[in-house]
Amino acid sequence: MNITTLLFMLFLMAGLLIYYLIPGRFQWECLLVLSAVFLCAADWRNLLYIAAVTGISFAAALRIEKQYSEESLPETGETSERRQIRKAEKAKRARKAKHAAVTAVVLLVLILVFSKYVPEALGLDLSKVNKALQERWLLLKLITPFGLSYYLLMAISYVLDVYWKRDRAEHNFLHLCLFISYFPLLTQGPISRYSQLREEFFREHGSAYDNLKAGALLILWGFFKKMVIADRIGVFVRRGWSGRQYGLNVVICLIFYGIYLYGDFSGGIDVIRGISECFGVKVTENFRQPYFSKSLGEFWRRWHISLGAFMKDYVFFPLALWKPFKVLKKKTKKHMSSRAAGRVAAAVMDLIVFLIVGVWHGMGSQYAGWGLYNGVILAFSTLMEERYAVWKTSLHIEESSGRYQVFRLVRTLLIVTIGWVFDCKDSAREAIAMFFRAFLLGRTDLTRIFPETSEAAFYLPILFAACLILFWVDLQHEKGISLREKFAGQSYFRQVCVWTFLFQAILLFGRTVGAGGFMYANF
């Protein structure tokens, strides 16, 4: 069920009605049922995946917790022999816990690999495979599980959190099931932690009016970004990618793509957050004005925050504590200072993490290329950190000066925008070729993106105005102004004007050819 459809809107309204009509203690069960209905609308077999993923995480977490709970505590006046036995027992239990965690994570990753990557790598046409399968076994059907990339990471984070004692194991299977299958998050995240959502799911959800008002405004703003900005600019982006572009055409396509992706992804996340807030469940933010970042590292801490945080907590840090990395650090220490050795290790980990992030998006070489591009730049800047400081001193550059900040902002924008080239092509080779064609300025032909039609002349100013609104809103947030709070303090009729403007703008301008669902729903 695409969340832009009328069907979803009706489903949401019916769901909210039931949710606020039933007693508060049954609300989480209502969410669970709604999630099941949402998944069944795509294919009932999705429930099997949810059950499998929940089952694995649930069992693993309980087993891990059992190992920890059975650890005996040191006694006063303990003999050395007894202490040794206790330590050996503790080590054995730790091994068992580790074994449970590793088994669960491996199983979960295998589900992801076999459901998402293997069919992609083999180029399987699932509709044809299913046709053949169903001729023999009617109920057998291979599906691409809906939202698997997101809820699988959530399940992994839960198991590891229990293993690392950051969270306690859930003893109610259905509670965990709700966390894994919570329907707003299935479309495109954000990848949430159980420790964050547990409180949200099972607390009192306050007044329906306030929740609905806050949620609906966020939904409208999300759809504004998606339908009025992303879908509209997407028309030009698609036209740009539909043939071979040169010179400024490539530059414009990349800039437009950056806006398109931001509008689409952050708009989608706002819609999801809004839907969730309507149910009184606040989910984590996934974007924090990324285009105001002053370094690539900062950009990725502000863009798809939940994925970045997942990678940091569950890939980067474990890697840092991994033996081979410790060995690497030791060896490099022999040739350089301890700090420099740390940087080398961090640079290698950056590279690996971004490669994993790239591959998480898909199997194509363009994804790996995108990961490597970002990883290499980050690794390089980590390695060069000391040298940069020296250069800045010798060039008398003041870190806090406005000009330098603007330079950093533009530099980051440039690096990020160039990186989008990997998103826009079907292989890394094509992307690189496209990048080099940007230098053939003489072959620029803007009519290939902006046809000389009255339609283009009509829509470009609308698009520009919508982008200005987006920029203004982001700027306010960057300044630390909460527009939602400010908005809530406005007079009723001013609020009505804003609501009406957003809603009518979506109806009037949010209609474009080729517009579909959210891009990140495909991952």
Binding site: N2, T4, T5, L6, L7, F8, M9, L10, S127, Y209, F223, M227, V235, F236, R238, R239, W241, S242, G243, R244, D426, E430, A433, P451, E452, T453, S454, E455, A456, F458, Y459, S491, Y492, F493, R494, V496, C497, W499, T500, F503, Q504, I506, L507, L508, F509, G510, R511, T512, V513, G514, A515
Partner: protein
Amino acid sequence: MRISEIRKRDASGRSDTARRKASTGRGTFLQRNGAGRCVSLRKLKAPKSRAGKAAVLILINIAVMLISAYLLKQPSILETELHEVQGETNYDTIVVGDSHGETAVDPDVLDGKLGTTSFNCARRIMPVKDIYYLIREVSYRNDPKTILYELDPFYWTVPGISLGNDTSVFFAGTDPKNRMDYFLNEMLQQPFANVIADYRFAPRNAAQIPGTAWVKLQPAYLRHEDRSIPMIMKALYLGENYEYRGRGFRYGTTWSAALNRSYSYEKFRAKNVPESNLEYFHKMAEFCREKGVRLVCFYSALPPYRLRNENEYDAHDFFTRLCAEEGVEYYDMNYLKADLLPRTDYDYVDVDGHMLGELAERQTSVLAEILASDRPQMMFVDSYDEVLAGLPEFMGMPGIDPAPWEETESETEAQTETGAGPLEAETEPGPETGTGPLEAETEPGPETGMGPLEAETEPETEDMGETRAGKTG
């Protein structure tokens, strides 16, 4: 406080700026109350209850939507036609299809030859799904014996439905059950904005506002009378090259050079036909079988230029096979023996294939003979080579390249970039194309790629941009 500022204050202590604001209301949202005094929105009393606040917000938005719909939603020719079809006369032969069918079959000629009572319900922007519901709609209070379906390959690659135009079966229809099914099966799956607001704010719609607003107030339109159709055509700028001749037939009057310049071509690829369209065609065949209706599919004859340059043979093979599978008659008028329907590119309003009235009458006459014949196959040639052999020499047309798609840059590039040889490129769309046929689909937009001249001077192009975005640009 400076002296100059104190002087500027009046007796009540208000500054100049404050007085100006009070008198003009500048800086606030203004409205005039009944007595003609200015009041600001800030002073308007908000409803006290939460339900009241929500209700006012909803009512304001509904009012804006109604006004927008009145001004921007195109008046519907299909709605008027469907009311006529459901009227007292029983039409035993109904033509369905898209704009090609609308301009290609003259009910008068058909009736003259076959003694039938026919009606042409073909309209622009008719994806396959809509055709199914249209067939159900025309069978509501009517008892058709034959349904002639002009199937245009372009719409077969469109998975969507018609929304935002004047041809939505839901908004134009009269059969409650059919409309409900259409809503449940199709409209629910559409973006919510497109369904709840069946209008769009585009340059063409903005330009049509005066005509649209005027037509919607006409008693003839409100009563769904036949004579309102020419008014609607004029309001939608469809009347430039056509005349309305009654019973749904749009008679092409003049050949248009400007329309040709905006024509571009989307290769027909069977693999781009969505599964859902095949299912709907199956439903159509089933429905007609159940009702005892003779379903006849035909492909209206295209201009020689298109036959020479496009892969119409692929479309022919695809539809011949499909119709055979469903047990439905299929006649590809492009494969008629040359002497049965001689024509040049100048027998059309445009190179896209909308016929001039004279050719439409001749084609209808041949179609009637086919329908009446026991051995219609005798009237057709077997191979595409024979089709090409029967075509006249290319006479040249302003704005038209003699062989435009043989070496277009984009196609060559697609092949080079994907590393696909010519054969692969023919069977597999290059990944670079990005826009599937459906992206060119039912909705217009800047992506129609119309040249400025066509868009501004040839209103029909705008319409066609809407209907055949992929083809017109």
